[in-house]
Point group: C2
Chain length 304, copies 2
């Protein structure tokens, strides 16, 4: 297999053009987004759908993820990642199987059909997680392309995956909302520096590898600007696996809690990681026995 | 002297009502702001004046402060404060006397007359500094009231001082702009914890004392919201010495550089610090031989 997207070598950083489509099968595989919404997604690499979930649904999910975070902290789950320099839970992974409610959310047609439409195929969950950015002391997430990590560390072959972030609290411009660089999904930023084995335990707390260089970031931001994903709770932002994103710290009293679902095309399952790295655990990257997703109704119909 | 604003004791945190006016002498001492602008300042504790300085003036000042920061780093000035965990200059103090251009800025009628009008008297420079928040790795400044520090550590008697921040780069919502809590200047948040001597060297890098408690912050933010001082370079925000403010980290490629001038009323000169603390150095808090400020033209006329 030739390496299309080489990264983390001693060669230094580089900007490579994306080889894959952004919207697959001309967006005909499922019907969820309108043509102009698909065009926005194709141009920017993301789309914000405001108020996709009701206040009641959000309240139920928020209760659920708080329970998960407390449970994870108490029981010292591997899935519960702590803040750097503190014992506070920053993320919980594999939430779709830790919680039935969130498992159902993963199959909710409002999310899943957007993913199927954009990826032009059936999908499965590559990863699910909830990110907490507590008030007062929420830490930043530095800029990164998810695909860069998934390609190198998980062996994801192509850019045929997307994330959606379901906002469980109001995301305002001051409480460290997700920031995305429009158009950055069209370029792959090869990062410098070789990755040590098992570094994922630390990298989920604080990134050190797969960090894009300042010059490339400057270029991307000059070209596309920076979009802050500011929207009320219940909104969902869908974003391409290669869009450059990050978020600032949160010193406001207002916590930020978002659930992330990563949908991958069933035609894009994981191969071996690069550079002889050991595969990351299942709760970070589904590999053994992934389950094809179908919208809830269809899944129910099939299970009868 | 009885203590009106007790802070940093073992008593715990408390919210005390402000005793002093916000605008002194009914805003009649000088003419700079209009009545409605004064009313905004009185209500919110700050006012943003957009595009007060021209692009040429800003470019000249920006060049000057960059020179100062490099000089300060090279010569290891006391006035040059480094980022926590790095050698990068985060702030340079006493810039009005390190640079003639900035000395002139301190007497610019566009700044000084606003200060004289609000404080209802002649003023002097309690402190001047430039804050750099570099791109990519600019660190946050946690919430604080300047007066709390100046009262405890410098012996400033009353709330009769103000700061102005002259924006030398565009401050946007994503690059860690100054955040202020409207209305917070009407309440004094007494902080918990005794202050060790000479802690200012560390506190300018990273705050540990004079930190307001989360509950009080939550209350203030619920009452007043959070205002981000977002404006183009050349704009100036004037803010009361007791308004609660801070700023988030900056991971964007866009640096943030602001000059701060702190004007104090000549009727409010410093007394001894609280709790037997040693006075902080002159470059942080003017004490010996402060110089009454007059607008540049008047100063020139008098010097003839």
């Amino acid at each position: 297999m030739t390496e299309t997207y080489e990264s983390r070598t001693e060669h230094g950083s580089a900007i490579l053009a994306r080889r894959e489509p952004i919207v697959y099968e001309d967006g005909q595989y499922a019907r969820a987004l309108k043509a102009e919404q698909l065009a926005d997604y194709e141009r920017d690499g993301f789309i914000m759908l405001e108020n996709l979930f009701s206040a009641e649904e959000v309240a139920a999910l928020l209760g659920e993820v708080h329970d998960l975070s407390q449970e994870g902290e108490k029981r010292n789950w591997n899935e519960a990642i702590r803040e750097p320099g503190s014992n506070k839970v920053r993320s919980v992974f594999r939430v779709h199987s830790l919680s039935e409610k969130i498992g159902a959310l993963a199959r909710d047609p409002r999310l899943l059909n957007v993913a199927r439409q954009i990826l032009g195929s059936e999908t499965y969950l590559h990863q699910s997680r909830v990110n907490f950015k507590p008030g007062f002391h929420g830490k930043e997430f530095y800029w990164h392309s998810d695909f860069e990590t998934w390609h190198v560390e998980d062996g994801m072959p192509a850019m045929r995956a997307l994330s959606c972030s379901i906002l469980l609290t109001d995301n305002v411009s001051s409480n460290g909302p997700l920031m995305l660089i429009p158009g950055s999904h069209r370029q792959f930023i090869a990062c410098q520096g070789v990755t040590p084995d098992s570094h994922y335990k630390e990298s989920l707390r604080k990134q050190e590898y797969g960090v894009p260089d300042p010059l490339s970031l400057e270029l991307l931001a000059e070209q596309g600007g920076i979009y802050q994903a500011v929207a009320p709770a219940g909104s969902v932002v869908f974003f391409d696996c290669n869009v450059m994103h990050g978020s600032s710290s949160n010193i406001t009293p207002w916590p930020r809690a978002n659930v992330f679902m990563v949908y991958n095309s069933v035609h894009n399952t994981l191969k071996t990681p690069r550079y002889g790295l050991a595969p990351r655990p299942e709760y970070i990257a589904t590999r053994d026995g992934f389950e094809m997703l179908l919208p809830e109704q269809e899944a129910k119909a099939k299970s009868v």
